[in-house]
């Protein structure tokens, strides 16, 4: 096992690339299905002073807290870290919101073709596309879709929340 510094940055990027790549493949960002307007995807924290205009459909991806590293097996050198990925879907209507959030959920659960629930973390140190690491494994433990009850906005809002577990092989490097 080779120590990967700032593994959290690589973990987040791996998950972001996975979701945005899937939405790209399904043409949500170019010529979307169902007559929808192209999707805007925001994958970083945006300063209030920045102006991001989303005329129709918007997906914002961010991450929650991260747990302590816990031993996954006694003496085996496996340890796990858990975190939470949140995808806010702000859509032009309820149907589009449900469709986009369903596609995100299918990607994360591995229900969509060519996707799995367990996959390798990608190391982006040298390659913009990332290089898979055999010793860092990501598992999407649970994926839920929620609909916040709000009457403050006309936009239709869905939230996909994924519990993520990163397993690191070999504590001694």
């Amino acid at each position: 096992m080779t120590y990967l510094r700032h593994a959290t940055r690589h973990l987040r990027r791996t998950l972001i690339d996975r979701v945005t790549g899937h939405l790209d493949d399904l043409d949500w960002t170019t010529t979307p299905p169902l007559g929808a307007e192209p999707l805007t995807i925001v994958t970083r924290r945006v300063r209030e002073s920045e102006q991001i205009t989303a005329d129709a459909n918007l997906v914002g991806i961010y991450f929650g807290e991260e747990s302590d590293e816990a031993a996954a097996e006694l003496g085996g050198g496996l340890s796990t870290v858990t975190t939470r990925m949140v995808c806010d879907v702000i859509a032009a209507n309820d149907t589009y919101g449900l469709a986009i959030s369903s596609d995100i959920k299918d990607c994360l659960t591995g229900r969509a073709p060519d996707y799995a629930r367990v996959f390798a973390l990608r190391d982006y140190t040298t390659e913009q596309a990332g290089v898979p690491r055999d010793d860092y494994t990501i598992e999407v433990v649970e994926v839920t879709r929620q609909r916040p009850e709000t009457s403050e906005t006309r936009m239709w809002w869905q939230v996909v929340v994924a519990s993520i577990e990163l397993t690191i092989l070999g504590g001694d490097s």
Binding site: R5, H6, R9, H10, R13, I16, T43, R44, R47, E48, S49, E50, Q51, Y124, T125, T126, E127, Q128
Partner: protein, 145 residues
């Protein structure tokens, strides 16, 4: 029918004079509008443009600073109750600008006043005052000092 004449220049000068009256005489005490830093990097970078390779560093350019902008600043003190997640009710300021002055600072990241830093939060929808447009910008203190 009688017509009402409107002297736009005198009107604007009057407002700007009133704003000038409230401006601190010492240049160091006046508000400075600061734009966000920018950074450029090559290779594999994240969404902030920061390299994943820790041996690389982006080329960073400090944000532009705009000083001596005539505006009105109102201060709203608050009980800055600190909780685990931060300050719940930070101190705020409200900055009122005419359209020409607003264009000088549109898109700023924060305002520095007397050593304190107030982050941009939002801009109210513009309102008209005869031929002038009024912009009201809200900012929150980074920290209560």
């Amino acid at each position: 029918m009688a017509t009402v004449s409107f002297d736009e220049a005198a009107f604007t000068d009057g407002i700007l004079t009133a704003m000038g009256v409230g401006t601190p005489p010492e240049a160091a005490d006046r508000a400075v509008f600061v734009f966000a830093d920018t950074s450029v990097a090559t290779g594999s970078v994240d969404d902030e443009g920061i390299p994943f390779d820790v041996t690389q560093a982006p080329t960073r350019t400090a944000g532009v600073e705009v000083a001596d902008v005539l505006c009105a600043i109102e201060f709203f003190d608050a009980v800055g109750q600190v909780a685990d997640l931060g300050v719940l009710q930070p101190t705020k300021i409200k900055v009122t600008l005419l359209d020409a002055q607003y264009e000088l600072v549109r898109g700023f990241d924060h305002v520095r006043i007397g050593g304190d830093k107030y982050h941009y939060r939002k801009t109210e929808p513009p309102i008209g005052l005869v031929t002038k447009t009024i912009w009201i910008v809200h900012c929150t203190a980074e920290d209560d000092t």
